[in-house]
């Protein structure tokens, strides 16, 4: 069953989708490469910049996922959706 899409944003040739339990980074030709990351694994989300924003996701396994060239409203929406979901599920320590 398909899960409800909570938020979406477009970066430089890539898309970030936020679902209730995970985020999904779609890249490559027609965004057919999907790289899912569980919300549990996301330690911190931050936004840098005003016009071409960079959304930074810090993952527990040490990775830092950067989604560059995002619009500020999109980046904010994605950040808020991830934080709300984690708060709801009490995933923050």
């Amino acid at each position: 069953m398909e899960q409800k899409l909570l938020a979406q944003g477009t970066g430089r040739n890539g898309v970030i989708n936020v679902y209730p339990d995970r985020i999904e980074l779609r890249t490559g030709w027609n965004n057919e490469n999907a790289d899912p990351v569980g919300l549990k694994q996301i330690a911190h989300v931050s936004i840098r910049g005003f016009v071409n924003c960079t959304l930074t996701l810090e993952v527990n396994d040490g990775r830092r996922i950067l989604v560059e060239h995002m619009a500020l409203p999109d980046a904010r929406q994605v950040k808020t959706a991830i934080e709300d979901q984690k708060r709801k599920a009490s995933l923050y320590e």
């Binding site: 398909e2 899409l5 477009t10 970066g11 779609r26 030709w29 027609n30 965004n31 016009v51 500020l72």
Partner: protein
């Protein structure tokens, strides 16, 4: 019987003679120079209004061109955008744009004649022609709309409708008029003697630089670049419509360039029509040759873009150059357009229509070509600038042309970038990826441009995309 025949013949003669008598009574007898001047003014006015209609009709050309180069799922949004731009552009240019461009003011901007309230003296930038202000406005607003239409060619298939509308107000109301005033309205570049007869820089380069600014902030369409960052072709859905668009633009250009004489009396407007047509033909040949040399086939879309690039290039030079030079200008424009298009694609700027190459580089080459090919006789007849490099004019005019390109292109790019950046930081420039994949017709306007059964949407979120009919077939195959 004989009397009857004579009576009928007399009646017929009378009937034939009456309109002549009536006409002789109604038509003023041309006696003095003043009456001749009135007739000349009437003819000129008729020509300017007709030319304005031709330039306005170019919007249909842009619509068909953009529709042809778009995918089926986005065609409705393209035509909706064209209509909205016409509405906003006409009203805003009437309110402030015309005054900023041609009104009395300083060397940077016009400051008088808002809401078309001025008289002949108020619009000093257009005082060189005696046609009524209403005709001048009709012609100039059509130019502003063309420049505005160029902006969106690069931003197709992913831009929010609100962005179109907000930027149109700023562009038609301020950015375009400032550049127009510099060159046509008695501003600082016209004082230098810059030659830009019908607007290679004012109209086309301005539109292209705004388009470049917007596209850099907007980013490419989903699926434009593969995993390694190599550009992929996203073909348009209807090449005949795209070529129809090109031909409409080509015909419309007979209003654009010859219409800029704002006079039908005299030989110059016919000469300009000739140089315009020759350049366009040569542009097609230049682009076709490049297409064959690079890809070993004749790319129809590129041939069309070659015509447009050549028409853009000859726009500045059409009144200053000989027919043979117009062929050189057009041919080189076709070659430059193709080369730049490949380069733009490679550096990650997604330009579905090739507007940056055709209008941007075409505009730059056309403006520079005045400084190379302008003949002393035509320069004297037009009264602008100096002859070109090939006619002993030295580098002076070429330098002025280059200065104009840098100043106007730079200003439009910076101003447009600032506006688009503000929009990106506040409302965002792009539609949601989901909407982009579904197509803008359904997300922004609620209906498809074509029948829903025909429209292919893209793969997303695990559902296969494709046409509705294909989805039904797949479902049936799965069930059986």
């Amino acid at each position: 019987m004989r009397r009857f025949v004579l009576l009928v013949m007399a009646a017929l003669l009378l009937v034939a003679a009456v309109p002549g008598v009536a006409l002789a009574q109604d038509t003023p007898v041309v006696q003095g120079a003043e009456t001749l001047a009135d007739v000349a003014l009437a003819v000129d006015t008729m020509w300017v209004v007709l030319a304005a209609m031709l330039v306005l009709f170019m919007q249909a050309g842009f619509a068909m061109l953009e529709v042809g180069f778009s995918r089926m799922k986005n065609v409705g949004s393209v035509v909706a955008k064209i209509l909205a731009m016409m509405g906003i552009g006409i009203v805003v240019f009437w309110a402030v744009g015309f005054a900023f461009t041609f009104g009395e003011g300083n060397s940077i901007i016009g400051t008088q004649g808002f809401f078309l309230s001025g008289d002949e003296a108020t619009y000093a930038g257009l005082a060189w022609t005696a046609v009524p202000i209403s005709a001048k406005f009709l012609f100039q607003v059509a130019f502003a709309l063309v420049s505005l239409a160029i902006v969106w060619g690069t931003m197709l298939e992913r831009t929010k409708f609100a962005v179109y509308c907000i930027f149109a107000v700023v562009f038609a109301g301020l950015i375009y008029p400032i550049v127009g005033h510099w060159i046509w309205g008695g501003g600082w570049l016209s004082e230098f003697g810059m030659q830009d007869f019908a607007g290679s820089t004012v109209v086309h380069l301005s539109g292209a630089m705004a388009a470049l600014a917007g596209t850099l902030l907007l980013g490419p369409r989903i699926g434009k670049y593969d995993d390694s960052g190599n550009p992929q072709t996203i073909p348009g859905h209807n090449m005949p419509l795209a070529v129809l668009g090109v031909i409409i633009l080509w015909v419309g250009w007979f209003g654009f360039n010859p219409g800029s004489t704002m006079a039908a009396v005299g030989q110059s407007f016919a000469d300009i029509a000739l140089t315009t047509n020759l350049a366009a033909g040569a542009g097609v040949l230049g682009a076709m040759l490049m297409s064959y040399l690079v890809k070993r086939n004749i790319d129809v879309g590129m041939a069309g873009n070659g015509a447009i690039a050549a028409l853009v290039a000859i726009t500045a030079a059409c009144a200053f150059v000989a027919p043979w030079a117009s062929i050189v200008i057009g041919f080189v424009a076709g070659i430059i357009m193709y080369t730049v298009l490949l380069l733009v694609d490679k550096i990650g700027v997604d330009d579905p229509l090739g507007a940056i190459a055709a209008h941007g580089m075409g505009g730059i080459w056309g403006t520079l070509s005045c400084g190379i090919f302008a003949t002393p006789e035509l320069v004297e007849a037009t009264g602008f600038g100096q002859p070109g490099l090939l006619y002993g004019g030295g580098l002076a005019q070429l330098g002025v042309q280059a200065l104009g390109i840098i100043a106007c292109g730079g200003f439009v790019f910076i101003a447009s970038y600032a506006v688009f950046a503000l929009l990106k930081a506040t409302i965002g420039l792009r539609v949601k990826p989901e909407h982009e994949l579904d197509g803008l017709d359904i997300s922004e306007h609620g209906v498809y441009g074509y029948s829903e059964q025909l429209v292919a949407t893209d793969y997303q979120n695990g559902n296969g995309g494709g046409t509705q009919a294909a989805k039904v077939r797949t479902a049936q195959e799965t069930a059986s």
